[in-house]
Amino acid sequence: MRRLLVAGLLLGIPLGIGAFTFVYAKGFSYLSTDPRACANCHIMNEQYDAWLKSGHRHVATCVECHLPHEGLAKWVAKAEHGFRHSAAFTLQNFKEPIEITPRDRRLVQDNCVRCHAGLVHDLVQAAGTARGDIDCMHCHAGAGHGAGG
């Protein structure tokens, strides 16, 4: 009985603090697809503000372009992004202006093609594979959140 009490005290306090931190940091919002969740950290303010004014805002939220759409891959990518972004923002050890990683850039490219396949499939086919040979964002660098949205 006394052991249980000690264990309870020992675990209860950090559990409580952890739960509070999770809620305080709007942890549940990350389980949603709400773009505001991506701007919880002010580092994404500019991207969020620009997206609000972009043409894409009617048809695509952050995750439509920045996460895969299949089940498991989506959650793996989400966890990986979440961990990497939180660590960087907490430690403030990243380069500015922030840059997308090559892997995530390919991910966005896949999502460009996913929606625009009807228009670009000749282009993508002609160039070979969907990846690498043609880079949508080379020309459409402002798509989503930037000049020309």
Binding site: L10, H42, E96, E99
Partner: protein, 463 residues
Amino acid sequence: MTDGATTGRGWWLIVLGFLGVAGLTVLLLALLTNIFERKQEGRERVVRLIEVTEDTMDPKVWGQNWPAQYDSYLKTSLPTSTKYGGRGLGASDAGPAEQKLDRDPWLRRIFAGYAFAIDYRDRRGHAYALFDQEQTRRVTEKKQPGACLQCHAANLALYRSVGKGDVTKGFEQVNPMPYEQAHGMKDDKGQALIQHPLACVDCHEPKSMALRVTRPGFIAGIKALKAQQGVADYDPNRDATRQEMRAYVCGQCHVEYYFKGAAKTVTYPWANGLRVEQIEEYYDKEGFTDWTHAETGTKVLKAQHPEFEVWNQGIHARAGVACADCHMPYQRVGALKVSDHWVRSPLLNINRACQPCHTVPEKELEGRVVAIQDRHHALLQRAAKATTDLMDAIVAARKAGAPDADVQAAQALHRKAQWRLDFVAAENSMGFHAPQELARILGETIDFARQGQLTADRAVRKK
């Protein structure tokens, strides 16, 4: 005994568990505090601790409301160097800036008979705008007018005081004063009216912090330029877009100018346009000349620092990129987006200055810029050689007693060649602001210089 052993191990487990959980709690609290701090950053807005008005000349006072901007403004006192500016990469900038006359000895020759042949140094940061100009031998050894203060100091208080509230009137009256008298003026309370190099109030409206232009010379100059383009009665403070203002505030001073007539009115020669030959045409029509060249007797022009004019001919201006976009790029301070007031070469800040638009590695961007600058520098040296060769030829022709008409024809070409050479050399970007335009101007320099040299040589042979 067995009981005792178990209890001992139990205690160890409890202590270890205790330490582990304590560590975990520390980490969690650290994370919580970190999140709290970031959230506070996100909430941060400008806090006006103090009222600033048109009369608040001291940037330090403004700094209480806008500490991030003020901190970066203070950094303009720090030394900076690039390959062609300052003392070269990695060098210290302490003490007076490097003597350009020693780096490029041809400058001493083309300015023969003029104050620039005595002392002509590299630039330092905005913080030195007033100090350095009072150290240069051009000012300590030659008489200069109050007109210099139009750009070298925060002058609104002086202009308002002298003009009895009217800035433009004050400007007109200060211009012809001897420099020392103008700088020494005091207000009713005995406070010096000129105390600071450029200040916040020169570019910002104190109530809204909106950008504005205050230098009367610029306001008149841009009005003349716009009139030539068919826009009547242009007032930048009323008619310019915010993005235009992000270049105009710099164009208040980083321009070609001259002191017009006995009134020494600081005048921007833009009535025909901003290109080198349009400005030349303006000066020719005005019959203006800066000085008579000591070696050749040519009535020549001195170009100042036409960054604004040259930028206007370049691809970045064409794309709507203003001075501030590259020289005062945005930086993040907490959650605030702040314009960096440490105005300096974008080469020292490629990340923020170039990469928001050019998503290319830093080294690659630097390589592109340096390639342009290296080529430009080589062409500049070649044009300088052509111009000094022309000067030699004119000196020889005059010595040989060549016909006046021929000497004058060669001198006319000297004026043209030197104006172009100086226009390019005085411009502070080593070619980058408008590479092709500057190469065109240097091409003309070489052509005019060699034409003049031929004219002078033929005149000697004719004799």
